[in-house]
């Protein structure tokens, strides 16, 4: 006898029993309208054999299986939560990097500002480049207004006069 046939046989017995008990319950449901009570009884009798048709579990095993399924769902949920949390930490880390870069940018701006500070430039000019204040040691060169072509041709001041070759 296959398992399925055995289940069918058991189901048939259960159906017979349940029909009997359904009759009993129908008789105990006299307060209800007859049509409703009979409909409820029909539902139970039609579902129960179908549910048990393919299931052959010890009740304790059924409970344990249910616990295992719930545990599995919990594990899946936890893994999802962990994934989200890890993603959050990654995001936090990126934000932290962004903040660090922003800070580095601000500090670089300040460094540039300090380097451009005239007191720093003057100190470097005096100490490193040995520059001295201009004082009166400068003069303006008078430049004739107008295009350069209007200037009379002549040797460039300050350059040696070209000498003809031998």
């Amino acid at each position: 006898m296959t398992n399925r046939r055995r289940n069918h046989a058991q189901a048939a017995v259960i159906t017979r029993r349940s029909k009997g008990s359904a009759r009993a319950s129908l008789s105990s449901l006299r307060l209800l309208p007859g049509s409703v009570a009979s409909a409820a009884g029909q539902q139970v009798t039609s579902i129960k054999p179908t549910l048990l048709k393919y299931v052959d579990l010890h009740p304790a095993m059924a409970v344990l299986t249910a616990v295992a399924i719930i545990a599995l769902v919990c594990v899946i949920y936890l893994s999802q939560v962990t994934a989200v949390t890890n993603a959050n930490y990654k995001l936090q880390s990126l934000e932290s990097t962004h903040v660090d870069l922003q800070r580095a940018h601000d500090d670089l701006q300040l460094q540039i500002g300090r380097a451009q500070s005239q007191s720093v430039i003057e100190a470097k000019a005096r100490d490193k480049l040995k520059m001295v204040p201009l004082d009166n040691k400068y003069s303006y060169l008078p430049i004739a207004s107008g295009p350069l072509t209007s200037l009379p041709p002549g040797p460039t001041p300050g350059l040696p006069t070209p000498v003809a070759g031998p």
Binding site: L110, Q111, Q116, S119, Y140
Partner: protein, 602 residues
């Protein structure tokens, strides 16, 4: 029988094997007990201990914090950074993990020296401060923050008791001529640890610079990281706007350097100087010395250093006021530059006798000579010719005794004895004409003189050129002409009269700049006190513009109580000439007169 037994065995073998029932029941019982235990534990935690635990959780994992915005930056007109931001850490000690005073003592004894603090003081602070998470050091240097991190690493038991909280800190990178004080410190002011601007531009533009703080209300883990599972409620911070000033840091530096040099050379107590573009009212440089380092504002003990004397103080202008007196009189046609009169050493008006500084009887004197010699008697003559009512109308038009509306914090109006004022005497009219009986802010005086320098137009002074948000200009200050005070011809006459005084060896001769016509007037004012003047000491000043025609800048220098000479003639005007020469060179203004050939260095 045997067949039956075989059949039974075969049937039994054909049955699927089933787990023995008692084992399943045992497992079920175990899980039931375990489950019940868990349910009880959850019930105990969630229901019985709910109040205590939720309060503790609230304290430990709830994170309510203010998100500070990034304060806007301040640049000079050339784009050089004058005020920026950095990040420093606040150090907190969390008392939650301390069981008793002994624990706290143990921590403090080890940790306080890392911060350079006394353990006893830190312990008292921790004991007395309300709350559990106590701030023990603000905005510590990076080196100290590194020490704290190292301490936490080496003392694992305290790693959750000590926390570092990064916070923004305002920094002023440009330094003045001594390499210590901040460039334009009193102009900029400073921002405190609460991101509030104090004094100067930082205070006046605080609403724009500060931005808007945000907040976050979230749960965090033991490392202080916000938890993603609980939706954080937050309002992001809005960063502040950046400012671009009209101030030129190059000119500012030259001005501060010359001011410091002059104070040292003439042994003055203090001094201030300002450079303004007379054609727009833009402030190009504004300095006072001694100054302070805005990065270390909390260490400053003399709070007067924070003030900007150009807008916060009033002072009798002295003879520099005569520029306005003569300009008014000439504009009204009451006198001309060539108008002459007999100049005695003193003149008596309403029983008050006024004398010129040297008590010299100059005899016949033109207005140009009177201005060049800084003769009080000549100024009184010019004012008398103009008349009391007209004179005060001109002063009003020049903006004297009224706030200029410059965009700097704490501007005061000044004190002028108007004909409508209580206790006014006609004597005040004459004394005001040569610079006494009236106390003006220096910025009023500079703006009024700039009006003469540019041909008669009074401009509203301003120091912020642009307000930028995310790189876009959202507000722009443009030159604002207030009114035409005097005619261009009158302004031109004054420019010539003053430059004549400089070039003909009169009082402002030391302000001469080779190669340029400059218009300068010196001033020497007695130091006023309640009910009169101090017996000694003076305020020596020099006011003028360059070049005389087509002015590029108005320059005002004032020295407080110079000891080498009390006169502006020998002190401030010297500084004026030196600084004007550097400014003309800096601004690449071509000379209009031949410059003497420089003497070669030996």
């Amino acid at each position: 029988m045997a067949q039956t037994t075989l059949n039974q065995r075969a049937r039994q073998a054909a049955r699927p094997r089933r787990v023995d029932g008692w084992r399943l029941w045992a497992m079920l019982l175990f899980f039931t007990v375990f489950g019940m235990y868990n349910i009880f534990t959850v019930f105990k935690l969630q229901v019985l201990q709910h109040g205590d635990l939720s309060a503790k959780a609230e304290e430990r994992i709830k994170w309510k914090n203010t998100i500070l915005p990034r304060r806007g930056l301040i640049y000079d007109t050339r784009g050089q950074l004058l005020a920026g931001n950095t990040t420093r850490n606040d150090v907190y000690i969390d008392k939650t993990h301390m069981q008793d005073d002994e624990d706290l003592h143990a921590l403090v004894d080890l940790f306080a020296p890392e911060l350079g603090q006394e353990p006893g003081k830190m312990f008292t602070h921790l004991k007395e401060a309300p709350g559990l998470n106590i701030l023990v050091a603000s905005r510590v240097e990076d080196a100290i923050a590194d020490k704290v991190v190292e301490f936490r690493r080496s003392h694992r038991e305290y790693q959750y008791s000590i926390t570092l909280d990064p916070q923004p800190l305002r920094q002023y990178p440009a330094f003045g001529p001594d390499g210590k004080a901040g460039l334009a410190a009193s102009v900029l002011g400073f921002a405190d640890l609460n991101n509030q601007g104090q004094y100067g531009i930082e205070e006046y533009y605080n609403a724009k610079l500060a931005g808007e703080a945000g907040w976050i209300d979230a749960e965090r883990d033991s490392f202080g990281r916000p938890l993603a599972l609980e939706q954080a409620q937050m309002l992001p911070a809005v960063d502040g706007s950046d400012l671009t000033l009209t101030l030129d840091s190059g000119m500012q530096y030259l001005t501060e350097r010359e001011l410091k040099r002059s104070i040292d050379e003439f042994k003055a107590d203090s001094g201030y100087a300002m450079v303004q573009d007379p054609n727009t009212g833009a402030i190009l440089a504004m300095a006072n010395w001694p100054s302070f380092d805005p990065n270390l504002y909390s260490k400053v003990t003399d709070f007067n250093l924070f003030k900007n004397p150009f807008v916060n103080d009033v002072r009798e202008p002295g003879s520099t006021m005569k520029i306005l007196t003569y300009a008014s009189a000439i504009d009204a046609g009451a006198v001309m530059s060539t108008t002459s009169f007999y100049a005695n050493a003193c003149v008596t008006k309403y029983s008050a006798t006024f004398c010129n500084a040297t008590h010299t009887e100059w005899g016949n004197e033109t207005m140009a000579e009177g201005l060049g010699r800084s003769d009080n008697v000549a100024a009184i003559f010019a004012a008398d010719q103009l008349g009391e009512t007209s004179y005060f109308d001109y002063l009003t038009a020049f903006g004297i005794g009224r706030r200029t509306g410059v965009d700097m914090a704490g501007e005061v109006a000044g004190l002028v004895s108007w004909p409508t004022s209580d206790g006014y005497s006609p004597v005040d009219f004459y004394s005001t004409a040569f610079g006494q009986s009236a106390a003006t802010t220096p910025i009023q005086l500079v703006s009024a003189v700039s009006a003469v320098a540019n041909g008669g137009k009074l401009f509203k002074p301003y120091i912020v050129r642009e307000v930028k948000k995310d790189g876009q200009v959202v507000e722009e200050n443009k030159p604002k002409e207030v009114r035409q005070v005097v005619k261009p011809s009158a302004a031109r006459d004054i420019a010539d009269m003053l430059s004549h005084g400089v070039e003909s060896g009169m009082v402002a001769r030391f302000a001469a700049v080779p190669g340029y016509h400059v218009s300068v007037k010196t001033g020497t004012a007695q130091l006023a006190q309640a009910g009169g003047y101090l017996g000694d000491g003076s305020f020596a000043s020099a006011m003028g513009w360059a070049p005389s025609h087509g002015a590029k800048f108005t320059l005002y220098i004032g020295l407080m109580n110079p000891k080498t000479s009390q006169w502006g003639e020998n002190t401030s005007s010297v500084a004026w000439g030196r600084l004007a020469k550097e400014l003309l060179l800096y601004m690449k203004v071509q000379p209009t007169m031949p410059i003497p050939t420089p003497t070669p260095a030996p």
